[in-house]
Amino acid sequence: MKLMRALLSRYWRPLLLGAWTCALSSLLPGRAYLNFLRPEFVVLLVLGMLVLLVFIFSAINAQPKSFDLDQATRVLILILPLVCLCMARGTTLDANAFQRRWTGMAGINGQSDTVMDDETRNVSGSDEDIPLISLCRWPKAYAESTVTVVGMLHRDPKIAAQFGTNACVLFRFVINCCVADAVPAAILVNGIPGDWPESTWVRTSGRFTLRKEGNRSIPVLHAVWAKQVPKPQQPYLY
């Protein structure tokens, strides 16, 4: 017990910092960090790892500090994100989060201009999938054309009551910095089979229209076909 206490007094800080460094480095292979952050943050993660490595060497050379209940509590608290990181690995925000974050048709009010950047214009009209965020940002540009999109499925009784029993929402989250600030981009879809479960990833194609609701234009996709697909490599949009 004494030996254990002495070892902890000497090494709890390097061990804790080492665990954090390992956790950060484990996010780099396969770009696992994209489940939490936008791509550009890889630079900051690497910077963080380097600083942590310096801290580890610094902590190894420092004089031992007592490992009491306070320190143990601190370690427990600092380990908690690592535990949650293991739990959250490979998962994404789903329809449950969508329900909490969706503020209605704010992102799809149809008032956006029709000017698109070159990249988006090239995608438009081709057989490739159109990012859901483009449909939300430039709905008029895509109106009355056939589009193919990938998104997650959400069924809401209110939407079914307002737009018909076949209506559901296809959404993806748009990240600005990290998942905490992710905002849903969503469109209404008609024609998805009713027995597909909530939060299913769906690829669907059909005619994209703008439905007038008061002073708003709500984007609606009338699906011609739809199929369930595995989670995309980059589940979030940026």
């Binding site: 963080g48 009010n109 998942v179």
Partner: protein
Amino acid sequence: MNAQDMAKTKNIPSPGANGNNQPLEWARDIRGNAWHDPILLESEPPPVPPLGKSLKFMLALLALAGLCFFGDRSGVRSFSIVFVSIVLEALPFMLVGACVGGLIEVFVSREHLATHLPRRPWAMTCLAAALGIIFPVCECAVVPVVRRLTGKGLPLAAAVAYLLGGPIVNPIVAASTMLAYKMDWWVAAIRLLCGYAIAVFVALAMGRLFARRPALLVLPDMCAHAQGDHKTAAHSHGCSCCEHGAQLVSSGLIGKLAGAFRHASDDFLAVAHYLVIGAAVAALAQTLVDRRLFLDLSALPIVPSILMMGLAILLNLCSEADAFIAASFRGFLSLPAQMAFMLTGPMFDLKLLLMYQTVFTRHAIIALAGLILLAVLVVVAGLEALGMGML
């Protein structure tokens, strides 16, 4: 417990105990003027963070989360993802902030700081609130930096001004706000100007309120006699409170850098658990709170602004990203309500509330929180009175 008692418990010579050291001599600048009110750094409780309370708080939080998520695996997933993402987003900034704090501790002497800052308190405060333009920082990085600057004797008002102004009045936040609002430069301008005004007002008010009362905590590794430059002879005794002192004097640049990183590492470990607790609360709020609830009350005057301030406190978003969330409420909430969200978050949220415990006394935190919320509310009411319509 006063400074001498604290020094006794640390087994270090107390200020004034040594005939060569006049009482609290370090609290005067090189011109001999009282620069950092000594009362701010004495009569403090031991600077040990209340981890027992943190543990209780964390356990209660986990229990609450367990109750809320019982049988709801989707909720647990959402909580975990958001929790980890907030920590991962803030971590590099906090590490860099800790390094800057460590470098300040070792390389910037108290005399240097006193020489280069304006002597008039209001001028110093106005300058500090705008320092983010030159040294852009987010709210996670600024806390360790301010922690070290206050240890160097930076006056309370200037410290508060940089703490509150730095995360808003900076070019990165201006750019992100413009981007979120489709290059509407005046939204960014209003945000920065209001943020600056609030930072200056709150800082001056704090300086006045705590002119005779303790507001700043003493850093655990900064004993009373070591408040000055690391190069001073008084610091080369190698006492247990600051074991690197002797090394720094003798080891040159490498030794100083090692000392800086040791300070930085200590700072990081002293503050990081508050970030984790704050992130957990924010993740819980993000998982449970339905944002549409905020829209139901949007027709009432000032109520949406108060709700948006509450949302900003709960969500704990980075000041460089919160404009995108505020912008998602366009069309439903007025600009003042969105502004309330963008002004409150970088100055005061749950994570910051906990992190401030490493810098300020409890009374100071209560006053700081009250002043920030009051100032934001007044500014937002002013914007509404000016007839700022829907964006």
